[in-house]
């Protein structure tokens, strides 16, 4: 045997050579917010729960979803889904049908009877005023944290706008009841049919509770000055939508004109079509720019609703058995704030419309008068500061009473945020977690080679004739296979899906798989960035490495 190792034959492995010293940057595994998460009013972890749906873990998806939103079945039907508008997948083919997936998860939970667990009730007590989406969301989040919750609602039933403003063909009442009951089952001290809470009552509630959340919504209909609401042929849209079908039938004639272009206007128009009425929508906005969701307008058109765009009513008067509306075309300019606009009538463009019933649906105002002198207002809503706290310490407000962002999911989000703030305020030392400052994952961070082009799995609508005959739901849910297929379309932007691509694409074997994740071996990683480039979800990024 030679005393020295042979110069001809190797006797060591290259693992003795630390190639990590070549590196100037190191991959960093950090889940980053997806565009959908950034756009979501409840800040739901969409990429995460869709992955769970894809993996067949619907219960897990429901648990993830309901961390932020207790109403997946409701939101899956009526959310205005800014998430889908932000979805990176639209740059490849079509956005992911997030709402339809959310509905799938929500419906599955209702069908399976999944319930929220609530920790034992603490002594700390919060009063929630208003049983609409904001109030229920806040009650839910507070109960999850173990707070005692007393809920005050003037109506005999919970749900607010979801019950009294959204027709059953968009949101089945069984779904609404199911998701609300699941919250009250957590142990909420309900006070239904109570008088509206005025300034004095607020004081009382503040004295008997550790915090109060005000979510009374926007209950006062805006009124058109040119219209005398005392006329029998004028029907308020909120009243109309809240009324039972028999009453709706009694209150409307054969020809209905709906004034307004928002969701409420669409709901009124389509409800009237279900009563067999001839319906025309008169809207200020030009075609294609109605504030209602596009799908609502499309379905209204399918159902035979006529539209007169870019025009306004100047006056209306009875003529024979009907009504004549004197209208004029307008130049419409949207304003900066949500809901703000200006119009300029166009000279010489007058025209007339004939109707039997006029239903104005131009929005609702919050009733601030009852707290006049007690709470500061900011324009048409209660003024709130950071964390939705009003001018009265310990009194928080959210939903339509405190914001002009008048979407159900916005209200749910505000309820969640306010509840989080209340919980933090009532729990000494419980600082709110700092916001994740990471940038949203842009489309160019997604390696689309790992995502096959596949059109969206669309929900089907019932036939138009069948729709007009009942108030049954129009949109039919995705089946389990469709839901899995649709979930598989999600890029999971910014969320590691443990696909192992980073591990398999490392030329230096510098990535080790762990039970649930990966670790970079800095002894060998040369910092090439292949793992980042081949990541299908954009959940790894290169970070400068200044260590020697």
């Amino acid at each position: 045997m030679n005393k020295h190792p042979s110069p001809l034959w190797t006797h060591l492995t290259s693992e003795n050579r630390m190639t990590g010293t070549w590196r100037s940057a190191l991959p960093n595994y950090q889940n980053q917010p997806s565009p959908c998460l950034g756009a979501c009013p409840v800040h739901g972890h969409i990429a995460e729960w869709i992955k769970q749906v894809k993996d067949g873990d619907v219960y897990g998806a429901w648990v993830t979803l309901t961390e932020n939103n207790p109403f997946p079945a409701i939101a899956g039907r009526i959310c205005h889904h800014p998430c889908e508008s932000a979805c990176n997948r639209q740059h490849m083919d079509e956005t992911v049908g997030i709402c339809s997936l959310e509905r799938f998860v929500g419906d599955t939970a209702l069908a399976e009877g999944w319930q929220f667990s609530a920790p034992p009730t603490q002594e700390t007590s919060v009063a929630v005023i208003g049983g609409g989406p904001a109030g229920l969301s806040a009650a839910y989040q507070l109960r999850r944290r173990g707070f005692r919750v007393a809920l005050y609602e003037t109506k005999d039933e919970l749900g607010g706008l979801m019950r009294f403003g959204i027709p059953a063909y968009r949101l089945a009442r069984s779904v609404l009841d199911g998701e609300i009951n699941r919250i009250t089952a957590m142990g909420v001290d309900l006070h239904l049919g109570v008088p509206a809470v005025d300034g004095a009552a607020l004081e009382t509630l503040q004295n008997s509770h550790d915090a109060v959340f005000l979510a009374t919504g926007a209950s006062l209909p805006k009124r058109l000055p040119a219209l005398d609401y005392a006329n029998p042929w004028v029907v308020d849209s909120a009243d109309f939508l809240a009324a039972p079908v028999s009453e709706q039938t009694d209150r409307t004639g054969a020809r209905v004109i709906v004034i307004g272009g928002g969701s409420a206007a669409m709901d009124v128009a389509r409800s009237a079509r279900r009563l067999g009425r001839s319906v025309t929508v008169l809207a200020l906005e030009p075609e294609g720019r109605l504030p209602a969701q596009r799908i609502e307008v499309e379905e209204a058109v399918e159902e035979g609703v006529n539209f007169v765009h870019g025009a306004m009513m100047k006056s209306a008067e009875a003529l024979g058995s009907g009504v004549v509306l004197n209208c004029v075309r307008v130049d419409f300019e949207p304003g900066d704030a949500p809901g703000a606009f200006s119009v300029e009538p166009l000279d010489g463009s007058d025209f007339e419309l004939m109707a039997d019933t006029i239903i104005p649906a131009i929005g609702q105002d919050a009733d601030l008068a009852r707290w006049s002198g007690v709470l500061d207002a900011k324009g048409p809503v209660v003024a709130t500061g950071r964390d939705w706290q009003t001018s009265k310490p310990g009194l928080y407000a959210g939903g339509d009473v405190a914001s002009m962002n008048r979407f159900v999911t916005q209200a749910v989000g505000m309820g969640k945020e306010a509840a989080t703030a209340i919980a933090a305020a009532l729990t000494p030392g419980d600082a709110r977690p700092p916001a994740n400052g990471a940038a949203q994952v842009a489309y160019d961070r997604i390696n689309i080679a790992y995502h096959d082009t596949h059109g969206r799995n669309r929900q089907r609508n019932t036939e138009i004739e069948a729709r007009l005959a009942t108030f049954d739901e129009v949109q039919q849910p995705l089946g389990p296979n469709e839901a899995r297929s649709e979930a598989a379309r999600c890029f999971s932007c910014g969320t590691c899906i443990y696909c192992d691509n980073c591990y398999f694409y490392c030329p230096d074997m510098a990535i080790t798989k762990l039970e649930n994740g990966y670790v970079v071996n800095s002894d060998y990683c040369k910092g090439c960035g292949l793992c980042v480039a081949e990541c299908p979800t954009g959940s790894i990024h290169m970070r400068e490495d200044t260590s020697s």
Binding site: M1, N2, H4, S6, P7, L8, W9, T10, H11
Partner: protein
């Protein structure tokens, strides 16, 4: 000649077939061979043996001598006993790999039939093909006859495997390769004992996962040559032992240097290969006419047994080197080697370099005998002399 310990078959064989017999007895595992005149009968005979089941060899017939040597090296590095054969152009085509083989310390045995290289084309006996490979790290043996070729090829495996260096055995085209003479075929069992299988310290695929020939730094490369140097230094002794054992077994002397009537020789002819037979006749004639002449036949050219040569030529006044090769610009290779080997010797013989038989031309007995008279009292010259 001593009596052999084993009874041997006597067969009438030409030199190449005698080589094939020797190879067959040495039982190599792998033999990649490419045909070339005048080597081809070795290849054909081996294939004939193998196809008749007389031996079990993995025979490869690749597209070139270069690939043959590449395969030989690889097979040897994987632990196989390997043989190949070639000639002239083929050997020259192998040149790159001859370096590789010795550098990788693969104990390959190559049989080369000495032939003129082109241009112009020729097929004649001339040793420049193998002599020009003297710096490639191969042990070189030269054979005079079919019997010696058989014996040498067997000894070559013994030497190669003892020192882990490749060995090239050479005989002259046609004069030996195609000359027929009675050849004794040694006993197979005896040869097997003479060539025991020595386990390699390391080989490819031995389970250690060690790789051969990976890029290396200067100092380590330098070390490989020092190790080769040490191995080369052992060759003379190893071949001496192999030769004396062979002589004990077969009765045929097989030392690195062969002496014929060198006792008290005033004139010693120094030569390699087929020329030796002619010189023996010359020596006998000279001795009859009272000229004290002798023959020193170099069997082991690389490494040249320098001390043995100095010892053998001490007291000789005149050495006449007959080179059947021509190295342009210097002359005969053996002449140069011998001069270098004798450098610094006390009372060295005069060394006369003769270019005799270059390109295979016939060198008659008279021409060689005349050299004795020409050189006996002549000063040596630096310039080579072309023998007519």
């Amino acid at each position: 000649m001593n009596a052999p310990l084993f009874t041997e078959d006597l067969k009438l064989l030409n030199g190449n077939h005698a080589v094939a017999w020797g190879v067959c007895l040495a039982e190599p595992d792998v033999a990649p061979v490419y045909p070339i005149t005048p080597q081809t009968p070795i290849l054909e005979k081996l294939i004939d043996f193998e196809s008749r089941g007389a031996c079990q060899i993995e025979l490869l017939t690749p597209e070139s001598e270069h690939s043959a040597m590449a395969a030989a090296i690889a097979a040897s590095a994987t632990g196989a006993r390997v043989f190949t054969a070639t000639s002239s152009q083929g050997l020259l085509l192998m040149h790159e790999l001859l370096h590789y083989a010795s550098g990788a310390r693969t104990p390959i045995v190559l049989f080369n039939v000495n032939r003129t290289p082109a241009a112009p084309w020729g097929f004649w006996p001339d040793q420049i093909d193998s002599l020009s490979q003297r710096d490639t790290g191969w042990v070189q043996l030269y054979s005079e006859s079919p019997q010696e070729s058989l014996d040498s090829v067997i000894q070559a495996f013994r030497i190669a495997e003892a020192v882990n260096l490749p060995v090239m055995v050479n005989h002259d085209a046609f004069y030996v390769s195609h000359s027929v003479e009675p050849v004794s075929i040694p006993d197979a069992g005896m040869v097997r004992d003479f060539l025991p299988r020595i386990p390699r310290e390391i080989q490819l695929g031995d389970g250690t996962g060690r790789s051969l020939g990976a890029p290396i730094d200067q100092a380590a490369w330098n070390l490989t040559r020092r190790e080769m140097d040490a191995a080369m230094k052992r060759v003379e002794n190893v071949s001496e032992q192999a030769g004396s054992e062979w002589e004990r077994l077969t009765g045929r002397p097989s030392a690195p240097l062969e002496f014929y009537r060198c006792e008290d020789a005033e004139i010693v002819y120094v030569t390699m290969g087929s020329m030796s037979g002619t010189v023996r006749e010359v020596v006998d004639l000279l001795r009859e006419s009272g000229v004290p002449a002798g023959l020193l036949k170099v069997r082991l050219f690389r490494p040249l047994p320098v001390q043995a040569l100095r010892h053998a030529l001490a007291g000789t006044s005149c050495a006449i080197v007959l080179d059947r090769n021509y190295s342009p610009g210097t002359g005969g290779v053996l002449h140069q080697e011998l001069k270098a080997g004798l450098f610094g010797m006390e009372n060295p013989p005069r060394v006369h370099g003769m270019l005799a038989g270059v390109g295979g031309v016939n060198v008659p007995v008279g021409s060689i005998a005349k050299l004795a008279a020409d050189c006996r009292n002549a000063e040596q010259t630096a310039e080579p002399v072309w023998v007519e």
